[in-house]
């Protein structure tokens, strides 16, 4: 099965468009309670690029992430994956799509099945990648490698349940999963908002290292502008379901044009410039 899939795979080089959206719209409800969560947005993500989608709560960031992942439908608009229209009409095609696109969420504890041991969680990833036929020894070797990539020891984790790990360990285990899956696109939805500044640095380091290794595209969904500035090549600023500003991190965050972006940046505490409290 795995060979068949690799045949179908389109080879993408660094800089090629991996995911493109044209006029993407998502509407929740109808009639009086009609709510346009995402309103005709266009985007173009390239291989090996780090993108941040920044906005406040309720701006539609997570809705975009869910649409990209194919967890919810798109009301209007077209999405192109590897240059071809995205097709996730059947379960089989969805499974194929998910081999190339994966996600890390805010709360690592809600992302794991609490009744499964850590080994099973990692073996699931290997199986999903079409490597079910591999021997147990080979699987253990792969898991050990993945764990050591995120500075965890497989021998200490084996036979443990998710609740026996700390938040930082869990979040790193999520990255180990990504390491096993080696997706083309990774969506990181607020991956560091539950951990302290120190673990945040570790997690960002690991994600960027992974990006360099397998030319992965990373899409950060975040409200942390400092983080967006530090990690990303391209930043999209989102307000009420629309992108109000986009461009390179340097241009958007250091010389913002839109009033919304300016306000957002002025609200973040800084250490080299004066933090003006009179503007709220």
């Amino acid at each position: 099965m795995s060979e068949k899939m690799s045949e179908n795979k389109v080879t993408i080089k660094k800089g090629d468009s991996v995911l493109k959206g044209v006029g993407i719209t998502r509407v929740f409800g109808y009639g009086k309670s009609r709510n346009v969560a995402v309103d005709k947005v266009d985007f173009d993500f390239h291989a090996g690029e780090v993108i941040s989608i920044v906005g406040e709560s309720g701006s539609g960031k997570t809705t975009i992430a869910k649409m990209i992942l194919g967890l919810i439908g798109v009301t209007e608009g077209e999405m192109y994956y590897n240059g071809q229209p995205r097709d996730i009409s059947s379960h089989k095609k969805k499974k194929e799509y998910w081999q190339g696109i994966q996600a890390v969420f805010q709360d690592p504890f809600s992302s794991f099945n609490i009744f499964n041991k850590i080994d099973d969680l990692l073996i699931d990833c290997i199986n999903l990648m079409g490597m079910k036929h591999k021997s147990q020894e080979e699987k253990v070797e792969m898991m050990t490698e993945a764990c050591s990539f995120v500075n965890l020891k497989y021998a200490e984790l084996t036979n443990k349940y998710p609740f026996e790990l700390s938040g930082g360990q869990m979040q790193r285990l999520m990255i180990a999963r990504i390491f096993l899956m080696k997706p083309k696109i990774l969506i990181a939805d607020e991956p560091t908002s539950m951990v302290d500044a120190c673990s945040r640095a570790t997690i960002l380091d690991m994600l960027l290292k992974l990006r360099d290794e397998i030319d992965m595209t990373i899409i950060f969904i975040t409200h942390d502008i400092g983080l967006a500035y530090y990690v990303s090549d391209t930043v999209y600023i989102m307000e009420h379901g629309k992108f109000v500003e986009s461009g390179s991190a340097e241009s958007v965050i250091i010389t913002p044009q839109a009033a919304y972006t300016k306000r957002l940046i002025s609200d973040v505490p800084k250490i080299h410039e004066e933090w003006d409290l009179s503007t709220v």
């Binding site: 500044a197 945040r200 640095a201 502008i225 250091i254 957002l264 609200d267 973040v268 250490i271």
Partner: protein
Amino acid sequence: MGKVMLEVKELTTKYVTRFNEDVYAVDHVSLKIEEGKSLGIAGESGCGKSTLALSLMGYYFSPLHYTSGDIIIDGVNISGMKPDEVRKSILGNEIAYIPQAAMNALNPTQKIIRFVEDVIHAHDPKKSKKEIYDMAVERFKVLGLPPEVLQRHAVELSGGMKQRTVIAISTILSPKVLIADEPSSALDVTSQKMVIKMMRELMEKGFIKSMIFITHELPLLYNVTDDIMVMYAGQIVEKGSAKEMVFDPVHPYSKGLMGSIIVPEAGTREVKLEAIPGTPPNLKNPPDGCRFAARCKYAKLECRTYDVPEKEFRDGRMYRCIHDVEYLKEVYGRDE
């Protein structure tokens, strides 16, 4: 030198686990805050920041137990008091506490004014409802909160508004010390700024005499407090003014913490983030010697054997490391 509002001497408190093991989460902590000053406490998750906050209130309930040390609020030692006594005479009018998710503490079936009545009646049961209402309206106006909020239920308010309401209610008796434990980390940046602005106003208008602000978000701490204290594994490892601590840290751990700061300012993108390897020690059986030694780049053999005392090297600056300041400065310079 201003009047000392809060003085803590060698405070030690412990958690007792269900297997009867002692975990010293606050270990010989001493600190002092003068009138009109604020102190920030920074550190990783699990370093004892929140336990210190709970201990300072003198309000202990299992599994947290008082072991030794003194807590002196404006000349009164509260460390030996019974929990009931503390609740009646200390909490609210001497010391106020705002937990992280304070906004979730509001009972959804009650109007906001009921909480104000609760706080005031706990200390002065004779006060009439009219008096309390007038007092609350006045305080809310001064703090820039619409007085209509008092007649609303908690569910009708936004997260940021709820948080500011809770802060206004808990400081209505003008406490001498306000302890804020991550008061803004559940909020978005704009609401956070409003909360911080309000806390500044509380200080400026003299409604609170001093403040302890706990967070792991260093840029915020830098902007809010006068002094910063860094905690590691239940101990204080460094203390100094906010500016000195952020730009000129001495202890290797503080140095690591400051290296993880991310701010959206020109030029900060090129600076490489430094993560401290490893995890904090288990406090059930803390290591001998310096507790940070296992993760420290500059650790020597002696670090793991001798207990390191707190060293004061300049007025108000203190650190806990076996190395001299000059040596540390030199090695930091070499590494950069």
